[in-house]
């Protein structure tokens, strides 16, 4: 994606492009941990989908399907909100190798 130059921008920082936030891959913000989803253990309550601040929980027909790592910033709210008490858990945060700048 090529970034615009200053003279190509709308005055006043106005954004005329609807839904342009999709281009902002918040997944790059993930530092150290990512949620791992196992569909067999999921009770499909959709709590994780409701609470995810980045809309990164992928939903299929009446089912949680997985996690979109392009936008998941690794906050861990899904794991925190998951009501399943009995192990094995459907959503766990696992350590991820950090991409160093």
């Amino acid at each position: 994606m090529s970034l615009k130059k200053w003279h190509e921008l709308e005055p006043g920082g106005v954004n005329l492009e609807a839904g342009s936030a999709v281009k902002n891959f918040t997944g790059v913000l993930r530092r150290g941990f990512k949620p791992v989803f196992t569909p067999e253990h999921c009770i499909n309550c959709f709590f994780c989908w409701v609470f995810c601040p980045e809309n990164a929980i992928i939903i299929g027909y009446e089912k949680v399907v997985g996690i979109n790592y392009d936008y998941c910033k690794g906050c861990g709210i899904c794991e925190n909100e998951c009501p399943v008490q009995k192990k094995p858990l459907p959503l766990v945060m696992v350590e991820e190798e950090m991409e160093l700048w």
Binding site: W6, H7, E10, P11, G12, G13, N15, A18
Partner: protein
């Protein structure tokens, strides 16, 4: 056809506003701006002006309401002074960054503490970096003409920056003077329809305004704004000339008074220019080669124009009606010295601070500045020129 009237600065500003007919006037009046608001409200009450007056509950909210009205594509006017302007601080930056053509009449008054009512440029000077166009007026005539031009400048498609029109508290705002006022139709024709152009209410082109920007875009957005304000000088001069062609009174970035053949010059802004011109006339009749540069445009700062005007002088006394502690001189002094730094034969530039809190200035203080300039010229390069406070008890 111009008509001569005897009016105060506040009354003529209100008259200019009623002739320009803004869509919205946002008010949270503070002394000495109160009379402007009263006059506009009276015009609305008697049915001669169809402007929506918004009475707000704080100064910050008043500027916020200006943002909303301007975002909707309206022509917007407001007033501010002293601490009211400081309470608007955050939203002044938002207004300029969103490129909203708000026009504010700022009656320059001293900042507390101690609480003071007198003329002082410190209020406007504290927000000089807010991205607004800033103009300072000498007398009610200039205030009337500048408010009319301010709407044209603010709403110009290439600028779209908010404009602050300053006049000195009481000296200009409350002093009755002869003012040439124009017919309402002529003013309306000169200003034209509101040229804000874009509106958030335009459903044909929906838009996001004031959104978040990461480090990948913030800098580009700001440079876009910086470049527009830098270009504004040209348009401000054009509007000043067009106003002159139409109404007979010409305006530019500054007024040079007997400056062409002068050796020594005063440089100042606002109501004090009248006293300075009187003094210069006296000096001239005695053979003294002195002149005046009365600055009108503070932001965008006309550094190239000033450099050209002051080249060839032996010394310049910069008289600031504002001073911030811990600085080598007033804000105007810093700008002037910076503007002249890369000239080949730089005049000696001396910093003076006068008239804080409405203190007057007299011929003997100009005499003192002239004596310093003559001495400073002889000792050029050796003087450290500490800031001098004029007419203060020592």
């Amino acid at each position: 056809m111009s008509v001569s009237r005897v009016m105060t600065g506040n009354l003529v500003v209100a008259l200019a506003v009623t002739q320009v007919k803004p869509d919205v006037a946002v008010v949270y009046p503070i002394i000495p701006t109160t009379a402007i608001v009263e006059e506009i409200a009276a015009s609305v009450a008697d049915g001669s002006l169809f402007t929506e007056i918004l009475n707000m509950e704080s100064d910050g909210n008043a500027m916020s309401a200006c943002l909303g009205a301007a975002l909707a594509g309206g022509r917007v006017f407001t007033v501010a002074s002293s601490q009211a302007l400081l309470a608007m601080h955050e939203f002044l930056f938002t207004a300029s960054s969103l490129r909203l053509p708000v026009v504010a009449a700022v009656v320059n008054r001293a900042l507390p503490s101690p609480l003071a009512m007198g003329a002082d440029h410190a209020d406007a000077m504290t927000v000089r970096e807010s991205g607004w166009v800033q103009m300072f007026c000498e007398d009610p005539q200039e205030a009337y003409d500048t408010v009319i031009q301010a709407f044209r400048i603010a709403e110009h498609g290439d600028i779209r920056a908010p404009v602050m029109v300053g006049m000195d508290a009481f000296f200009t705002s409350h002093t009755f003077e002869n003012v040439l006022v124009e017919e309402a139709e002529d003013v309306e024709e000169f200003v034209g329809p509101c040229g804000a152009g874009s509106s958030v209410l335009d459903t044909e082109t929906p838009r996001t305004v004031g959104s978040f920007s990461g480090s990948d875009y913030y800098f580009e957005h700001k440079v876009n704004q910086f470049q527009a304000l830098d270009q504004a000088r040209k348009i401000i001069k054009e509007v000043g000339k067009e106003f002159g062609d139409r109404f007979g009174r010409y305006y530019g970035c500054f007024e040079a008074y007997k400056l062409e053949d002068a050796d020594f010059a005063l440089l100042l802004m606002g109501s004090c220019a009248g006293a300075a011109k009187e003094w210069i006339d006296t000096q001239r009749s005695n053979g003294g080669k002195v002149g005046l540069l009365k600055l009108r445009l503070m932001r965008p700062f006309p550094h190239l124009e000033i450099k050209e005007a002051l080249t060839g002088l032996k010394a310049v006394a910069v008289l600031d009606r504002a001073y911030f502690p811990g600085t080598p001189g007033g804000p105007l002094f810093a700008e002037i010295r910076s503007a002249l730094y890369d000239t080949q034969e730089r005049p000696v530039i001396l910093p003076y601070v006068y008239g804080l809190g409405g203190r007057d200035i007299q011929d003997r203080h100009f005499d003192q500045a002239l004596a310093d300039m003559m001495q400073g010229h002889e000792k050029a390069g050796q003087t450290t020129c500490p800031v001098q406070f004029l007419n203060v008890r020592e």
